[in-house]
Amino acid sequence: MDLPGPIHDFLLVFLGSGLILGGLGVVLRINPIYSAFSLGLVLVCISLFYILTNYHFVATAKLLIYVGAINVLILFVVMFMNSSEYYKDFNPWTIGNGLTSLVCTSILVSLISTILDTSWYGIIWTTRSNQIIEQDLIGNSQQIGIHLATDFFLPFEFISIILLVALIGAIDVTLQ
């Protein structure tokens, strides 16, 4: 939807801060149930981002699948584990943690400098020629339907086979 300017900016800042805090919460909280809830917050904020960019179908699909299925699955797995053994040997300042945080910060800085240096509007304008004509008049679910039925038909079939095999395999592993 085309929101007015200040609401758009406010929502962007709100979701961005939710993402930042949720991401830190997944990694840094000791209790795994709290970190699973922080993962749920991150997934909700990501799917609300897709609403801001007019992709309503992808937003709803991510909300249903990620928050509704994958996050609930992870919560079930967390609740089966005995989490009292992690409070004893929790040491956040080991050498390995410090080295990894250095490496990850350098990865983040290099990625951000690459993103801010690229001129994105030039790239988007040159690749706009091979998209569907009248793209703004069709809804997002119709665009995805057109793509799935014409260009991406073979990956669609393969994805369904992959999902079938993965679910049968997961059930077989847990039944033993």
Binding site: G23, P32, Y55, F152
Partner: protein
């Protein structure tokens, strides 16, 4: 303006996910950080909306198989520490 903000946020989530994946001693936390990484890559595909659907499907399949493996490991060894598999060490 908005495209760059979302890409910067996706880079942040990616690096946080890599940090959490490497420094987690719990298998379930490693699975959660893997989901973070996959979501960070997925939010990069802003203008390619079909590929996001495929990444969602692959992430769902991988999360289900990962949690099945973690459940069977927990059932066998009663503990989910990552550094307990040392049979190949010698």
């Amino acid at each position: 303006m908005m495209l760059e903000h979302i890409l910067v946020l996706s880079a942040y989530l990616f690096s946080i996910g890599i940090y959490g994946l490497i420094t987690s001693r719990n298998m379930v936390r490693a699975l959660m950080c893997l989901e973070l990484i996959l979501n960070a890559v997925n939010i990069n595909f802003l203008k390619g909306n079909i590929f996001s659907i495929f990444v969602i499907a692959i992430a769902a399949a991988e999360a289900s198989i990962g949690s099945a493996i973690v459940s069977s490991i927990y059932r066998n060894r009663k503990s989910t520490r990552i550094n307990q598999s040392t049979l190949l060490n010698k």
